[in-house]
Amino acid sequence: MGNYSVFSLVKNAMTGHQGWQRAWRSPAPKPEYDVIIVGGGGHGLATAYYLAKEHGITNVAVIEKGWLGGGNVGRNTTIVRSNYMLPSNTRFYEWSMKLWEGLSQDLNYNVMFSSRGVVNLAHTPAQIDAFSRRGNSMRLQGVDAELLDRDQVARMVPGLDVSANARFPILGGLCQPRGGTARHDAVAWGYARGASDRGVDIIEQCETTGFLFDNTGRVTGVQTSRGEIRAKKVAVAVAGNTGAVMRTAGVETLPIESHVLQAFVSEPLKPLIDTVVTFGAGHLYISQSDKGGLVFGGDIDGYNSYAQRGNLPIIEHVAAEALAMFPNLSRLRLLRHWGGIMDMSMDGSPIITTGPLDGLYLNAGWCYGGFKATPASGWCFAWTIAKDEPHAFNADFTLERFHHGRVIDERGAGPTPRLH
């Protein structure tokens, strides 16, 4: 496939860039694989990559119903952080953070991971207390976290309205300096290239429509729009489509609802906001892409949806909150907005597990936080598939936890997916 470097770039420039190869191969599906991964999003591709790299399992197919990376990995607001409070989450997301920090080099693909810092603004003393609890929890687990006062926030995020008479005055914030953003599409492409290089077949435009079983009820493959494909193990990582795909395997219900989350980008601008900032008195986060667009995210629309588009109330709300934070933004223009389908779990935390059927493995429940999880999710899922048991990092992310009451409820919102 050829190594990527400034030298290869110069060399190719001299020959009119005729020499570049496909970033990933596009083979026809084989009749059988050791492992089939359903879902060519970030998690599916990362799983394939780590199966090959860490476990030497290369007879693997990733099956994607559309174009690779067209799901949530290609439509998220790219925030990477590990500032979680509950130990199960902190542990897992911090492992992800560590993988991010070496990912471009590991993949030989620049995923533009940018540690520009993530700041959560606090507006009340109670919020400072809650952030302190979280920040201290992180620090005690070896994760970086800093509590900022108002002046530090003002220095870090110029333009922010830090005045005392703001509707929700800013008292300070919790900052994770190592947090930041990454170039979302590049993550999918980099993992695809890395997996493909190691022998994984990436099969696009191939939708699973059902599962194959042997007479013991064990899953033995998938039915797809391009025919049946057999496998020793089938892993599902289809994010917002988990409910629909699992139903074709006979799993009628799961602790998941699919909801729409929108994202927004402005026209390109010269550097304006150099960190990732979240508004603490509502639901808004802003960062600026390397291309110059301000990237905004808000709350989910709040109702079940499989449509990759949302509606005006959230759009208007996001604009209003952005302007409350930065009163100099009102003449800037929204360029585009879109939606993605989130697999909102009942406690807001993910599921990476063997089962729920024999021969099947499930990776789901990422809510709006799964982009940052991509490396660790792939890494842990690959481990779980290869070893038929979870790694310590994902041991708590079971399906049974809901019924046992071992929920991992970061927000304390209870079993109401739209509140997580």
């Binding site: 409910g243 629909a244 602790p255 079940n304 109401t416």
Partner: protein, 102 residues
Amino acid sequence: MRIPCPCCGERDLGEFTYGGDATISRPAMDETDLNLWNHFVYNRENPRGPHLEYWQHTGGCRAWFKLQRNVLTHEVGASELVGPWAAASPDDETTGQREIAE
């Protein structure tokens, strides 16, 4: 979206609070089988298509009602009041109301 409140007629999405899947049945108060309770609290069909769901007109008359909505197209069908007044809102009244508020 415009949501048809069986009591007030069609109103904007922003006036309502979503209440989730309305096909789940709650076990009887004296039910002791935890599986049933767990199922009720945590498990959802989450279909990709027609969905019967609860909504509350929180920014209006506060009625809880069931709405048939397609979660793929967002198309809405009929809505139906739940609770003690369910029977008292016959269809013709609902239609009469909609003419007014549309």
